[in-house]
């Protein structure tokens, strides 16, 4: 069995000592934690509520929930998955209160259908005698040094922000935060198969955005 691929946890962990520091009342540790997770929390909340402003409020409310639960946090899950459980619970409650008409499961269903991962024009069509379905405009190699640039990360960030709400939730939980598929499914209340399709669509769109950015850069 090959393991599921994701970015190394070291790139996104906030440090093992964060919990004792928080409990000791260390403000810097709290602010670092907020800065680390707040963006993803807003992205995840956004799928459950009607506006960006409400999602921001929900994330703030979730932080208050995190603080009040901290003393009794038993560490059965990671601090990160516990935080995301709190924010999804807050967001669901808020969404219900606002009587948001479309539940996540229905949105998820809708977002799983849609176009192909790569434009069909980039493949030889079925009439081609030898290469039907194979690349006619193959992907160009990405320069390694640009892959780690701040600008490229910014392109990814913007592409994620433009995704449909449930795809945005899935890629935030899985690829940005590194939660497992099981955790993402449970938090969002979607099936594993749907989760995978949504993750695929989200990653494909983000890849395409990076590709466009790389191409534009190569021309200049």
């Amino acid at each position: 069995m090959t393991s599921v691929e994701q970015a190394p946890a070291s790139e996104r962990s906030v440090g093992d000592d964060v919990l004792p520091r928080l409990l000791a009342g260390d403000e810097a540790a709290f602010l670092a934690l907020v800065e680390r997770y707040h963006g993803s929390m807003v992205r995840v909340a956004r799928g459950f509520v009607a506006s960006e402003a409400v999602a921001e409020e929900v994330a703030q409310e979730a932080w208050v929930g995190v603080l009040s639960g901290l003393a009794t946090f038993e560490g059965r899950s990671s601090l990160k998955s516990w935080i995301f459980r709190i924010v999804t619970n807050c967001a669901k409650t808020r969404g219900q209160r606002e009587r948001r008409s479309v539940p996540i499961s229905a949105l998820a269903q809708e977002e799983t259908s849609g176009g192909p991962s790569v434009e069909p024009e980039r493949f030889f069509d079925s009439s081609h005698p030898r290469w039907a379905g194979n690349w006619s405009v193959p992907p160009e190699r990405w320069a390694e040094e640009r892959l780690v640039s701040i600008e490229t990360i910014e392109v990814v960030s913007r592409a994620i922000d433009e995704l449909p709400p449930v795809q945005k939730q899935v890629i935030s939980l899985r690829d940005v935060e590194g939660l497992t598929a099981e955790e993402a499914c449970e938090l969002l209340g979607i099936s594993e198969a749907n989760q995978r399709v949504l993750l695929h669509r989200a990653r494909s769109r983000v890849r395409s955005a990076v590709e466009q950015y790389m191409k534009a850069g190569n021309l200049s």
Binding site: M1, T2, S3, V4, E5, Q6, A7, R12, L23, G25, E27, F30, L31, V34, E35, H38, G39, S40, E56, Q60, W63, V64, L67, S68, L70, A71, P116, S117, V118, F123, A132, G133, N134, W135, P138, P139, E140, R141, W142, L147, V148, I153, E154, V156, S157, I160, I171, D175, V176, G178, A181, R196, L199, H200, R203, S204, V206, R207, V210, E211
Partner: protein, 86 residues
Amino acid sequence: MTTADKEQFSCEELVELVTDYLEDKMAPEDRSRFDEHLNWCPPCVEYLRQMRGTLRLAGKLTPKDIPEPAKDGLLHAFRHWKRSAH
């Protein structure tokens, strides 16, 4: 074209299967066909590398700036929590 050739994935099919591949959710025979395809198709190797690169980039997302009033509000909440907890 041999029968084996016909059973191979096209590139257009392969790009739809990349996440199943990376998530290790393919039947063993499909996984073999996928690997087989990669053996003769450098563009799909590059495509797979780009999808891996994309998910790693997502893992490096820089923290969003938190609006100043929100930050103040959260610090206030933290100080309040600290006083009541200690």
